[in-house]
């Protein structure tokens, strides 16, 4: 099993970045800043995927999340928020209850993580070098149906998003 010091350092570095950025996403008071830190989180996560020998996922992560999703969110914000972006991202009254629940979740996860005998599950097998080829083959053979369904889902989501977001006036114009 690979265990170079670089990977350890890289892991902790990336993990801290991810957690720190994610925390800021939640806690900053300006929604645009939140999105910015979200992008940071996503990029750091792509690094993490590289550590996990998942090159293709890492690429997708950067393209889809850091690229498309973040941009889309920013566009969304631009459409709906006031010009003044201060105090656009506040907490509601559930702060304490939410915190308590999250603490419980964390505690449970900790207990479960500690109790689970991970070493018994882990294999000594290596991840094949060329992940893209394998993924491509699998997606178009074994997982072809889910793949097509996913394509369909995207199409439906595309149409749905347009229909939902479209303005009444636009609709009226389109009819004319």
């Amino acid at each position: 099993m690979e265990s170079s010091i670089y990977s350890v350092v890289a892991f902790y570095g990336l993990a801290l970045t991810i957690l720190g950025a994610a925390t800021l996403v939640v806690f900053v008071r300006n929604i645009v800043h939140s999105v910015l830190f979200l992008a940071v989180t996503f990029v750091a996560m792509a690094g993490l995927f590289l550590l996990l020998d998942a090159d293709f996922i890492a690429a997708v992560q950067v393209l889809v999340y850091a690229g498309a999703v973040c941009i889309m969110v920013v566009f969304g914000i631009m459409l709906i928020q006031r010009a003044d972006m201060k105090a656009t991202n506040l907490f509601n009254k559930q702060l304490l209850a939410g915190g308590g629940l999250v603490a419980l979740v964390v505690a449970l996860c900790a207990v479960l993580a500690g109790r689970t005998a991970w070493t018994e599950l882990v294999t000594a097998q290596e991840v094949p070098a060329n992940t893209v080829q394998f993924i491509g083959t699998l997606l178009l053979s074994k997982y072809v149906i889910p793949f097509e369904v996913a394509a369909l889902l995207l199409l439906v989501a595309l149409v749905g998003a347009i229909v939902i977001a479209r303005d009444e006036e636009v609709k009226a114009n389109a009819r004319d």
Partner: protein
């Protein structure tokens, strides 16, 4: 030949008027004259058939003991061979029903004829005749019934016709109330009768008159004496209501709200004596129970006296006649109760003629005076309406019991029967009532037809369709009693229960009753005609103030019943209704409200905020995860539905 035909087709007698009813309702209603002709014609044909059939019965002694019965199955329940309940309908012809059939159809024919004149120009002329036809059909059906259930049906149908005809002037509140009162009062009585019939059916398994009379003759095989007494009393409740006996007489005077021909036909001559007829038909039952006979006699005697006292003080011509009817039916009941079926039915027979006559006369007067009914406002009508007046006088003589008019013979026979049976108190009551009857009848006659004319009135004699029935009935009122003179009692030969009765002629009772009647007439003459100027009557009324008021207000019985109805029945009904709304429905609504309130309570958790729901959702997830993690495989498998 014709007689044979009539006897075999006696069912046509009620059927013809029934057809007339249908024809008038559905076809000839728009043409008044035609409707009247249909009604009168059908009844006349019925009368012809009835007369022929009666002739057939009365020329053959055999039918006295063994009635001629044609019957057929009406419906049955249970296995065809051995039914649990078999009801037959049929025709029973014997002297009693033949006499009654003839009497009803004969009088009805003339009253229908009279109605053409009386109802002329009234709204609903055709409808009136259709009702009359329906009544004729029902009454004749009642008369010829071979089965008590069939009789009960006809009994109720005549009640319906009575209801419809009393309330004929639908726009009058008084008519509406009177009709309702008549129906409900009779209904109360019919409840008793129905219970009696049910008991008979259950105990003896049949309601056919002939079979019943055979079985009841030795009722010990079926039931106890107490039960048979109870049944007799229950059966008698029916006649109490229908024939206006105390204490259910209250509807009959009010029934005078109907058109006068109706009063004459239904509430004097035919329907109200149906009770007498029923008791006569079920004599085999009463005969077995002396105490029930006693009850009949006492009820009759008391009612006769009681109604006569009320009649003395009344002012409206038809009301006086109505109380007189109640009183006379009391006589009939008295006769039946003391065991003389022939005397009771004989009085019914004569009464039908003279009372119908008097009612029609009263109708003629009302027609002339435009429905001014108070006898004190009449007077001297004899000059303008001679036929009406003199026929009325004939009726008055008949009812007072002056020989040789019809009423004398029948009343005398009742008195003799009461005396012969040893019922001295009832005899005294009946004799005194005879005096009262003569008095109040002649009071009315003197006040209305003699004395000074009231200048406000402009009477005129009625047309021939009205006077012809008067004359015919007057002839009847004179002569029909000769059938049953003590010297040659043809009536008693034929119409009787058990063996014919041949006692010695009681001249004492005969002379006594003539004297009483004459005294009554004389008293009326002095008070209201000879010394009318002296206002003695007025002063007497003042002397006996409380008594007079009590009599004038009919012993306050109506008020008592009204109070009972309003306070007790309506009050209880109200109570039941409130109980229903607040208790029974309260429980139902309470259950509904419980569901609603618990829903309201639970709604607090339904904040409508998405994040709230997420919170709860994750709490649930957490709980499930904890359960799965810490309670071993059994809980996990439970949650996952047994999937490993």
């Amino acid at each position: 030949m014709l007689v044979e035909f009539a006897m075999q087709h006696a069912w046509l007698v009620p059927l013809l008027p029934a057809c007339a009813f249908v024809v008038i309702v559905f076809l000839t209603r728009p043409w008044q004259k035609l409707s009247a002709i249909v009604a009168v014609g059908s009844m006349a044909m019925s009368c012809v058939i009835a007369t022929l059939a009666a002739y057939g019965i009365f020329t053959n002694h055999e039918y006295i003991e063994k009635p001629l019965v044609y019957a057929t199955r009406w419906f049955s329940l249970g296995l065809p061979g051995m039914p649990d309940l078999l009801v037959e309908v049929g025709v029973q012809l014997d002297p009693v029903s033949a006499m009654m059939m003839f009497m009803v159809s004969f009088i009805a024919t003339f009253i229908y004829l009279y109605s053409i004149g009386y109802m002329e120009g009234e709204e609903g002329f055709s409808v009136f005749f259709s009702y009359l036809s329906l009544f004729g059909a029902s009454m004749l059906l009642l008369v010829i019934s071979s089965n008590l259930l069939q009789m009960f049906i006809a009994w109720e149908l005549v009640g319906l016709c009575s209801y419809l005809l009393i309330g004929f002037y639908t726009h009058k509140v008084s008519a509406r109330e009177a009709a309702k009162k008549a129906f409900v009062t009779c209904r109360i009585a019919d409840f008793g009768l129905l219970l009696g019939l049910l008991s008979l059916q259950i105990i003896f398994g049949t309601l056919n008159l002939v079979e019943l009379s055979d079985k009841i003759a030795h009722f010990e095989e079926y039931t106890t004496f107490g039960m048979i007494t109870l049944i007799a009393v229950l059966v008698f409740i029916g006649p109490i209501g229908k024939s206006g006996q105390f204490p259910l007489h209250v509807w009959l005077p009010d029934a005078m709200e109907g058109p006068t021909p109706v009063s004459a036909l239904i509430h004097a001559a035919t329907m109200v004596v149906a009770g007498v007829y029923l008791v006569a038909r079920t004599m085999f039952l009463f005969h077995e129970v002396p105490s029930a006979m006693q009850l009949v006699a006492v009820t009759g005697g008391f009612t006769a006296f009681f109604a006569a006292t009320i009649a003395i003080t009344q002012r409206e011509i038809k009301r006086i006649l109505a109380y007189s009817t109640v009183s006379q039916i009391g006589y009939m009941m008295l006769a039946l109760g003391v065991g003389s079926l022939s005397a009771g039915l004989f009085h019914m027979w004569t009464h039908a003629f003279f009372k119908a006559l008097m009612f029609l006369g009263a109708g003629s007067v009302l027609h002339a005076l435009h429905h001014k009914a108070d006898v004190w406002e009449m007077g001297g009508l004899v000059k303008k309406m001679p036929i009406t007046a003199w026929t009325f006088v004939v009726g008055g003589l008949a009812i007072a019991g002056i020989p040789p008019f019809a009423g004398f013979w029948s009343k005398d026979e009742i008195l003799v029967a009461a005396l012969g049976g040893g019922h001295y108190v009832l005899f005294a009551l009946a004799a005194f009532t005879a005096f009262l009857t003569a008095f109040y009848m002649w009071r009315m006659i003197f006040l209305a037809f003699f004395g000074e004319e009231n200048p406000e009135n402009h009477p005129h004699e009625s047309p021939w369709v009205m006077t012809l029935p008067l004359v015919v009935l007057a002839a009847g009122a004179i002569s029909v009693g000769w059938l049953g003179t003590p010297w040659h009692n043809i009536w008693g030969e034929w119409i009787r229960f058990g063996h014919p009765h041949h006692g010695p002629i009681n001249y004492g009772a005969m002379i006594g009753s003539i004297v009483l009647a004459a005294a009554g007439i004389y008293l009326a003459y002095t008070l209201y005609l000879k010394d009318a100027k002296k206002k003695r009557a007025r002063r007497m009324a003042e002397w006996f103030g409380p008594v007079y008021r009590m009599l004038y207000n009919k012993y306050y019985i109506d008020e008592l019943y009204l109070w009972f109805n309003h306070a007790l029945v309506d009050g209880t009904a109200r109570l039941f209704y409130l109980f229903d709304i607040y208790v029974v429905d309260g429980i139902v609504n309470g259950i509904g409200a419980f569901a609603r309130f618990s829903g309201d309570g639970l709604r607090v958790f339904q904040s409508g905020r998405l994040q709230n729901y997420v919170l709860v959702f994750f709490l649930g997830v957490l709980a499930v995860a904890v359960l799965m993690a810490f309670s071993g495989p059994s809980a996990t498998s439970l949650l996952l539905g047994g999937v490993k």
